[in-house]
């Protein structure tokens, strides 16, 4: 990786996030107006103060008009971006670069998804016309990620029962965290028995191993770091933004063993280099990671360098990543319990970092956090895009 990064050049000065969930009574427009309004208000701005917008959505609209129409934006630049489930992070990344380049003073990244209008379970695909042979056609997302489970237990000689307990712990922990989050889709704790006995979806993954399919929106306002205090006393500085799109080699290469995401490893290395982080497990105060399915979170702990290879299942069971553990992971409930409105999720992760680093996380507040990581992934084992950011509450 050769990205130079834009550490400490830009800062977040306002954020907003709607409640996530099956919001039958709220439209995409409603969600956008809500999230944008919260963000503008928290920055002490007027809507007209924003110079340019980046809108991330997987499938809830096309083009910048999806945002300009409901907001009545008056002939300003609005870019719609899409990068699978990392769409929200991608909107944020490009918005940050626009400010860092000097092109704009104040920009907004918005993510939105309205999944629950389709009437189907899970995510829908909108693939171009094709020959009908792509494995994604028959293999759903939970099935693709369930491949991690037997591969991991085989590679590291982990007893499948112990692996099941570790996966259960991820779901249990994220529900405990989500129960303390008023915006979360699922605001209640779930017993280990309920998790393990939930109806099976794919492989050993049950319904409660899967992230919530939900509607929601989140937004962030980004300005030059030196201007940040014009808008807030507690800005959140962007230390690193990294993105890696894989060559999709894993699906074709017998050398790939489905126990890691090379894209995550590479994007994390890039982000740590940009942020000057050498020991992420110690230097980070919290991490918001892409726990789309329970085994994903386990593998991410290793790919992000939070633990050694083959250890994540043990560390997870030991409570290392619990809210009171050595490195709290998904303290807001994660995709699992906060919900996963695709285009909004990357910005939702940043929203928790924003709250925590400003001391505004209420009963979830961690003691004196200073650096937060967000990790957002789109695709599946064997081929994905992976985004990693590091943000902190002090410049320099």
């Amino acid at each position: 990786m050769s990205s130079r990064g834009i550490a400490d050049k830009v800062a977040i000065v306002g954020m907003g996030c709607t409640r996530f969930g099956e919001l039958w009574d709220r439209s995409t427009d409603d969600l956008l107006v809500d999230a944008v309004g919260q963000a503008v208000a928290s920055a002490g701005m007027r809507p007209d103060d924003v110079d340019a917008y980046w809108l991330g959505t997987l499938g809830s609209g096309q083009s910048g008009l999806t945002l300009s129409r409901p907001l009545g934006i008056d002939h300003k630049p609005v870019t719609r971006v899409e990068n699978y489930c990392a769409t929200g992070s991608e909107a944020f990344r490009n918005a940050c670069y626009a400010v860092a380049s000097g092109a704009y003073d104040r920009v907004m990244a918005v993510g939105v998804e309205k999944l629950k209008d389709s009437g189907f379970s899970g995510l829908l695909r909108s693939d171009p016309p094709a020959d009908g042979t792509a494995s994604e056609l028959s293999l759903t997302a939970p099935a693709a990620f369930s491949l991690l489970d037997p591969a991991y237990t085989t590679r590291y000689g982990v007893d499948p029962g112990a692996m099941r307990e570790a996966m259960t712990h991820v779901a249990w922990k994220n529900h405990v965290n989500g129960a303390r989050n008023p915006r979360a889709q699922f605001r209640k704790e779930v017993s280990r028995e309920a998790i393990e006995n939930a109806p099976k979806v794919a492989g050993r993954l049950g319904v409660l191993d899967c992230s919530g399919v939900s509607d929601g929106s989140a937004a962030a306002i980004v300005v030059r770091a030196e201007d940040a205090h014009l808008y807030t006393d507690r800005p959140v500085y962007v230390k690193a933004l990294a993105l890696a799109a894989g060559p999709m080699r894993g699906g074709m290469d017998p050398g790939y063993d489905f126990t890691t995401f090379p894209e995550v490893v590479r994007s994390a290395q890039d982000a740590y280099a940009q942020a000057g982080i050498t020991d992420p497990a110690r230097e980070l105060s919290l991490a918001e990671v892409h726990d789309c399915f329970t085994p994903t979170e386990l593998v991410l702990m290793e790919d992000l360098g939070f633990t050694e290879r083959g250890q994540a299942w043990k560390d997870s069971l030991a409570g290392d990543f619990d809210a009171d553990g050595r490195l709290p992971v998904n303290v807001d409930g994660g995709l699992k319990s906060f919900g996963h409105p695709v285009g909004a999720s990357g910005l939702r992760m940043l929203f928790e970092a924003w709250l925590q680093l400003r001391g505004e996380a209420g009963e979830r507040q961690l003691p004196d956090p200073h650096h937060a990581l967000t990790h957002n992934l789109g695709g599946r084992p064997g081929g994905c895009v992976s985004f990693v950011s590091v943000v902190g509450n002090e410049a320099g």
């Binding site: 094709a130 020959d131 009908g132 099935a143």
Partner: protein
């Protein structure tokens, strides 16, 4: 007529209707992802493991249950077998007589005769009880054969015995005794004529194929063979019936024995063969009898839903889009033939083919590599209960192939209990789903049964 029989094979789907369907003897049924085209491919691939594909001068696909009309089905078979573009391929559609037509054409000019059918009967009907889904393959051409064609004879008769409107899934028949009485005369006439032409007083083996169940039941009373008089041991399989019945005889007949093949369909067609010394060493490795015994039961309600006779609740997922014509054409070698691309610089095998090598980055330095015959092992697997499928759940595997290459595919005829990391699989040509009237042909993995004769050993 200088053509000889170069090889034969039969294919029986693995599923059987059992006691829960009210049947006393198991009924062979095709899986939801099989149709006459895929059954024909399976029989043809079995045959061509023991024959030279270069000997295939033409392809004749006989069926009463074509997957398409207005579009040739034999072209998909041709593509799946990876035959050269100048090999003629056509369908011969309609009745059991179509198979005879294919045999006549192929015996005149050489060719691969494929006969395949999915026979559907109303629940409780004799077609359900006495029918079978099956395929047979017979390769005719020049050279050292397993049997010589001695003579043929035909009698044609317009007879309302069996019929089916083209739009109907199930057919109808007159009282079987009416057809039997008529066929009794026709069979004796055609048999006598053919034997005369062959200079024989009688044949060692007589094989009778007919959709009239009385003809089948009382075949021995019509014409007797010196050694055997048989009908298909698997039940009436439409256009495939004649070749399945013949296959069962070729499984056991000795060298130098004569076979009188009789097809009683709207007349009677007779063909006389004499086996050669090469038959014993070129029999199909798994005889019809063992193919029949190797099945396993499918729940009756599952079977009825496969045939559209019972509508079941499906996962709450959108139906897939139909495969598109232009991408399917561009990817034909992959989609229909399961040919990958090997980098000529570093040898990395790509499934599907891609322009830039994943191993060394070389651009457009690929050669086609046939993978349909390769075996592989399961690297990892899952059971997908959410995916759209005509028969959920979908079992998916990541397969690493001998000699290189990896891809993720569905498992055909899946018994989830037999799939784990390290399971050995082979590839089979199936229809993944039908969308917009288009069959999404592609390949699936199939678990190699323990102790099975491998394709390679077989060759």
């Amino acid at each position: 007529m200088s053509t000889v029989v170069l090889g034969y094979a039969t294919y029986l789907p693995v599923h059987r209707l059992g006691p829960d369907s009210g049947l006393r003897t198991p009924r062979v049924v095709a899986s939801f992802d099989e149709n006459s085209t895929t059954l024909a491919v399976a029989a043809a691939r079995s045959l061509l493991r023991r024959a030279d594909p270069a000997d295939v001068a033409s392809v004749w696909l006989a069926t009463t249950s074509p997957a398409y009309l207005d579009k040739t089905n034999a072209s998909a078979v041709h593509a799946a077998l990876g035959l050269a573009p100048d090999v003629f391929a056509t369908d011969v559609v309609g009745s059991g007589r179509s198979t005879v037509g294919a045999l006549r054409a192929a015996s005149a000019q050489g060719g691969l005769v494929l006969a395949a059918d999915v026979r559907v009967g109303r629940p409780g009907s004799s077609d359900e009880r006495l029918g079978a889904d099956a395929a047979g393959a017979l390769l005719l051409g020049e050279g050292d054969g397993i049997a010589d064609v001695l003579a043929q004879a035909s009698v044609t008769d317009e007879l309302l015995d069996r019929w089916r409107p083209p739009t109907s899934l199930v057919g109808a028949q007159w009282e079987e005794r009416f057809g039997f009485e008529r066929y009794a005369d026709l069979v004796r006439r055609a048999a006598g004529e053919a034997l005369d032409r062959a200079g024989l007083a009688e044949a060692d083996h007589v094989v009778v194929a007919s959709g009239n169940s009385a003809v089948v039941k009382r075949a021995g009373t019509l014409v007797k063979g010196a050694r055997s008089t048989t009908t298909s041991p698997v039940g009436f399989s439409g256009a495939a019936d004649l070749l399945v019945a013949l296959g069962a005889v070729l499984d056991t007949a000795g060298p130098g024995e004569t076979i009188l093949l009789l097809s009683a369909v709207d007349g009677c067609d007779a063909l006389v063969l004499r086996t050669t010394d090469r038959l014993p060493e070129r029999r199909q490795p798994v005889p019809v009898r063992d193919q029949l015994a190797a099945g396993r039961p499918v729940p009756y309600t599952t079977y009825l839903s496969w045939r559209g006779l019972l509508e079941r609740e499906l996962p709450r997922r959108p139906e897939p889009d139909r495969p598109a014509g232009p991408p399917s054409l561009r990817a034909a070698a992959w989609k229909f033939g399961f040919a990958g691309a090997r980098c000529t610089e570093c040898g990395f095998v790509h499934l599907p083919p891609v322009p830039v090598c994943r191993g060394c980055g070389a651009v457009e330095r690929m050669e086609a590599v046939p993978m349909a015959g390769a075996r592989g092992t399961v690297a990892t697997y899952t059971v997908d209960r959410l995916a759209f499928s005509p028969s959920p759940p979908v079992v998916d595997v990541v397969v690493d192939f001998e000699g290189g290459g990896r891809c993720s595919v569905e498992v055909a005829d899946a018994d989830p209990a037999t799939v784990t990391v390290g399971t050995e699989v082979e590839m089979t040509f199936r229809s993944l789903f039908v969308a917009g009237g288009v069959h999404n042909y592609f390949w699936k993995a199939r678990v190699v049964p323990a102790g099975a004769v491998s394709a390679e050993e077989d060759a």
